[in-house]
């Protein structure tokens, strides 16, 4: 797998989330994703970025434009050094929330993307990696 292009962005304020949406949209357009996939990717990015900000006390996003020979892909890696998630399975369930949201964030995002990985250590932080491949 080849990384064609990459970029990083901070997620520290609610204004940063607007930049995240704009930059992710730009990457997705460049990779020639259709309008529905673009919308799903940007929405997924927005959901995870909000988690990074609200629960992870801020962090960073790394965007990677990928090629595996036949397909193009967009991989988004969100990293924070927040409190971590104790029970990941539970956090992925629709309706689960530890904050003031509706608890659709993680479970809903998983449905919008092709690949979804989450790694978390209590008191060290959380990394969420989501990927979408061209059809």
């Amino acid at each position: 797998m080849e990384v064609l292009k990459s970029d990083s962005l901070p997620i520290r304020t609610s204004e940063d989330m607007v930049s995240v949406r704009t930059s992710v949209r730009k990457f997705a357009t460049e990779l020639r994703f259709g309008i529905v996939d673009q919308t799903k990717i940007v929405t997924a990015a927005s959901e995870i970025a909000r988690n990074t900000l609200d629960y992870g006390r801020g962090g960073d996003l790394r965007m990677e434009a990928l090629s595996n020979g036949t397909k193009r892909g967009l991989r988004l890696i969100f990293t924070d050094r927040g409190p971590g998630i104790r029970d990941i399975e539970r956090a992925l369930t629709d309706g689960f929330t530890s904050g003031n949201g509706m608890g659709l964030g993680l479970g809903g995002t998983r449905r919008l993307m092709d690949e979804f990985e989450i790694a978390s250590k209590v008191n060290e932080g959380t990394t969420v990696t989501i990927t979408k491949w061209s059809r």
């Binding site: 929405t43 959901e47 949201g101 809903g108």
Partner: protein
Amino acid sequence: MEHIPILRMGSFLLITVQVDMHDRLALQLQDDLTERIVQHGSHGVLIDISALEVVDSFIGRMLGNIASMSRVLDAQTVVVGMRPAVAITLVELGMSLPGIRTALTVERGMEILRGDVENSMQELEAEEPERAADGSSEV
């Protein structure tokens, strides 16, 4: 402080969201709108989201809050102009915007709001004669 403009047209309030709202701006809109409903005694709120390329769960929740708050303040809300890709994404995300009335165009949205106001007027008129009758029998 940034604000999303709210236009008043008769007994309705119109909002066209034309920027990608950050969270505080969305919350500000909720506050501004409820204040304006009370200030003008508005009966309907029309929110045009045709310029929005993304509606995530936060914005979806805000639209639901606005609809609920308006209802409590005796105003109906209609959300118009949702893009097809946004509709697909919201449903897959698990948000079907329950409790929010939608219409495809501003025109259809206005028809719905006008229809609501007319209906409630007719209900009021239908109640009036009874009150008059009660009043006269007491005298």
